[in-house]
Amino acid sequence: MRIPCPHCGERGNDEFVYLGAAALTRPAADAPAEAWHSYVYLRDNPAGLHSELWQHTHGCRRWLVVARDTRTHAVFSATDAAV
């Protein structure tokens, strides 16, 4: 698999570290327990388009948000998580 790093160009997935769903928002410190449970543990895990976090650990070390189809592995976009 190759991930198109927006900074370094397309690279093999062994240069990256995967974290999982990118669409999760860290709850406020005083959010109810369910919100934390959901953030830390529950996942949509879709078969299809998945927005996910990868770090280009052996490249620019940036965390990226990659849109990828989990059935075909087709990558539609990769953007810097902080931008």
């Binding site: 698999m1 093999g12 997935n13 062994d14 995967y18 974290l19 999982g20 327990a33 369910e34 449970h37 959901s38 830390v40 543990y41 529950l42 996942r43 949509d44 895990n45 879709p46 078969a47 998945h50 996910e52 990868w54 990828r68 989990t70 059935r71 075909t72 592995h73």
Partner: protein
């Protein structure tokens, strides 16, 4: 006709023409007392034990494709009960005990072979972690032996002890561990369940649930609506997709795990070996192929195939402990969809929807659990409450914090 040497001889004399299907290819009925979704080992075992232990015979196992074609048919067949945490250990040990009498029970040779599982360790710290696990097993009354380097050399003299980057210092051995023939496990449970009247319905995909008043009523399938007051999910890598049809969001991600088989050779590896300083485990099938694998690829996937870095990692790790396999050839590699739970341990429990039960989160280790999982799930479904044996494998443990994190890796399925 029962399976035996005699029946085989009789059939040999008449050209093997007297056999009937190992299980009926049942058409779905409009309603059942209970339905198990997923015709993998777990689903079929659940069907079998529902009938055998709880007398529920008006039941069906629904499989979207052909039975045993999921992870049951694509795993590295290692069975063992060498877990650390009591919540896990008692279930895996129950399973091991069921394996031990399975063939006679099912009248099907699933080739359960207790040739021993040896986990190699490479440092003092790792030895102590294994000792803690081995001691926990012994407290459970389960066999475990901690070998030093000499002990390992006696069993596997040709491992790379001397020239290794991570020298082998010893291993944790469970002699009762071993392998079982993956396909035969599915077919055997199907055969056994069928003989008790369970309908095994293939090419029947569950596409929706009817739920009213917080209770499940039945399932929509590609072969029509089927009603049932109790529905159990045992769909492994598809768990999130199927559960989503019932509105559930779960602590599970689907990842790909690859496996490999080499060309067949004369006996080389007797038992099961695992590498403690990398990701590699291997055994030799009765057909002669080395069956081996490593870590998950580490990203969500439903594609049943992996990527190259893991292939190389597996081969490197294999060569690191067994430099003698360099010239053996990989014959085939494939992938399965493993349902990685957020603490690495399974879930066998009720769900917030009445009558809907969940069997999932097997990660890359559920084959060994097949009989035990089916037994526990059948109990949970039939009695509407978990058995003590699966009482820790709860769905709400993530909310309460009573997680079963064998490796201390935290809530990231890709790190298990």
């Amino acid at each position: 006709m029962g399976y035996s040497f005699l029946s085989l001889v009789r059939e040999a004399l008449r050209g093997q023409t007297g056999w009937r299907p190992a299980w009926r290819d049942a058409a779905p009925k409009p309603a059942y007392d209970a339905i198990v979704v997923g015709g993998g080992g777990h689903g079929l075992a659940t069907g079998y034990y529902l009938a055998k232990e709880h007398g529920l015979t008006n039941i069906a196992v629904l499989e979207k494709s052909y039975i045993g074609g999921g992870n049951t048919g694509r795993n590295t067949t290692i069975i063992r009960s060498n877990y650390l945490l009591p919540g896990n250990e008692r279930m895996y040990e129950k399973s091991m005990q069921l394996w031990e009498g399975l063939e006679q029970d099912l009248n099907y040779n699933a080739m359960v072979s207790q040739r021993g599982v040896l986990n190699l360790y490479h440092s003092d710290a790792q030895r102590d972690v294994y000792a803690r696990r081995g001691n926990a097993m012994r407290l459970h009354g389960v066999d475990a032996a901690l070998l030093n380097e000499t002990g390992v050399r006696k069993l596997y003299p040709w491992l790379d002890f001397d020239n290794a980057r991570f020298p082998i210092r010893g291993g944790l051995l469970q002699r009762r561990g071993g392998t079982a023939r993956h396909d035969a496990v599915a077919w055997g449970f199907a055969h056994g369940a069928d003989r008790l009247g369970v309908d095994i319905v293939q090419n029947c995909e569950v596409t929706g649930f009817r739920i009213s008043g917080g209770a499940v009523q039945g399932v929509e399938t590609t072969r029509g609506y089927i009603a049932a007051p109790k529905i159990g999910l045992a769909v492994a890598g598809s768990t999130s997709r199927v559960a989503a049809l019932a509105g559930l969001r779960l602590p599970i991600e689907s990842h790909v795990l690859q496996a490999f088989v080499s060309e067949g050779v004369k006996p080389l590896v007797d038992g099961v070996l695992t590498f403690g300083a990398g990701h590699f485990y291997v055994s030799q099938s009765d057909k002669g192929g080395l069956v081996f694998g490593g870590d998950i690829d580490g990203y969500n996937s439903y594609a049943q195939r992996g990527s190259m870095p893991v292939v190389e990692d597996v081969m490197e790790s294999g060569m690191a402990i067994m430099p003698a396999i360099g010239r053996l050839r990989v014959l085939r590699q494939w992938g399965g969809l493993v349902d990685m739970s957020m603490d690495g341990s399974p879930i066998i429990d009720r769900t917030p929807i009445d009558g809907l039960y969940l069997n999932a989160g097997w990660c890359y280790g559920g084959f060994k659990a097949t009989p035990g999982s089916g037994w526990c799930f059948a109990h949970t479904m039939a009695r509407d409450e978990p058995h003590f044996i699966n009482s820790a494998l709860r769905l709400d443990r993530f909310a309460t914090g009573a997680v079963l994190d064998e490796r201390g890796a935290g809530p990231t399925p890709n790190l298990h």
